[in-house]
Amino acid sequence: MRHFILLITLMLTCTQTQAHLLKVFAYSKNVEGNKQLINGKVYFTGGEPVNGTPITFTNSAGKAVHKTTTNDLGKFTVSLTRDNYKIVADTQDGHKAIWHIKAQPNNGANTTKNSLLPLGTSTDHSMGQLEQMIAAQISEQIAPLTEQIIKLQEKRQLQDIIGAVGYILGVFGLFLWFKQRHLPVSVKRRS
């Protein structure tokens, strides 16, 4: 029991309680010449970066088109032909994580300057083109936000841990009740 209390105390005082779940996160940006720049990182939940992890990029045709590894900060950057990609990080020892990236509809890098012009002067743009530009801009702007939201969701909640320990005790309590319930029967059988 003393060890149990010790572990619980350790748990409560440990500020870096990471979990054992591999994650990969990436976002892409369109650049010149029908290419897209993909930035991403690999980490264990809680934020610990994982360096030297092999990453595989599979395109929409299901073909593995590119391979890379993460740097010391667990990050990677590649430039690939514009397409939808499935990004798989695999530490080779049973940890694996997947992330999907969608090709963005329009060239965000080229439209950056144009979209800053007053709407009235850009007569050469149709309404549809404008919408695409705005969509590209927005998706670029909210990429860091997405990352923050994922981080928040993965934050290990102390309540969860205490709740789960409570569940364990509860389940074994049920076992105990179940066994006790059958006790009189076995006593009867014996006599």
Binding site: D93, A164, V165, I168, L169, F175
Partner: protein, 210 residues
């Protein structure tokens, strides 16, 4: 290292793991005496929490398992303890996966059963003879239990990955690099816990004569 996610292991291995776990679990539940339930619950909670405290090593991360200790203290009752802790880690934190739960449970519980069959009777016998075994004996048997726990889990984990088509050489490099240090850490920690418990409260080991 011991929580394989869904989609990594091939179907035959999944079926084999589920079958092994089902058999071991039903026998473990049969062996779970009422007197032992509180202790089983406590160790289940220890196992649950120890997996949350991880240390990064190389391209992966490790955590203590305590499956050797569980085998030594609980015998077959370690199987339900491990299964329930893994199930809750899956539902609360998304470790591992529902389909591979059988494989993961088996990889961790099998070494505990081995310890329960080989080392536990030896320890109980010694405790019956000497009442309080020497510190060196307790440390040795604890270290053996901890070491065997990690060693066998590592072997089972590697073979479940290899038989699922993972490339052997790079996988082995990562697994060995992370699990050999873990084996020594776990052996040391288990040795001290066992030596402490044997001397202060020997009743924890033979609460039930089975």
């Amino acid at each position: 290292m011991a929580h394989i996610p869904d989609g990594v292991v091939s179907t035959p291995i999944l079926a084999l793991g589920a079958l092994g776990t089902a058999l071991a679990l039903s026998y473990g539940l049969k062996k779970l005496d009422s007197d032992k339930i509180p202790q089983t619950a406590m160790l289940s909670a220890v196992f649950f929490i120890s997996s949350l405290i991880t240390f990064p090593i190389g391209p992966s991360s490790i955590h203590l398992l305590f499956n050797g200790l569980m085998g030594l203290m609980l015998g077959w009752a370690a199987v339900p303890a491990i299964f329930i802790a893994l199930l809750l880690q899956l539902t609360f934190f998304g470790f591992g996966g529902l389909l591979v739960l059988g494989v993961n449970t088996f990889n961790i519980a099998f070494p505990a059963i081995v310890v329960a069959i080989i080392l536990r009777p030896y320890l109980l016998q010694k405790m019956a003879d000497d009442i309080i075994p020497s510190k060196r004996f307790a440390l040795t048997i604890g270290a053996l239990a901890g070491g065997i726990g990690i060693l066998l889990t590592t072997l089972l984990l590697s073979s479940s990955l290899v038989f699922s088509g993972q490339e052997f050489a790079p996988m082995l490099k990562v697994v060995l690099a992370t699990n050999i240090p873990l084996m020594f850490i776990e052996a040391t920690v288990t040795a001290f816990i066992v030596s402490f418990l044997v001397r202060t409260s020997p009743a924890t080991f033979n609460a039930v004569t089975s």
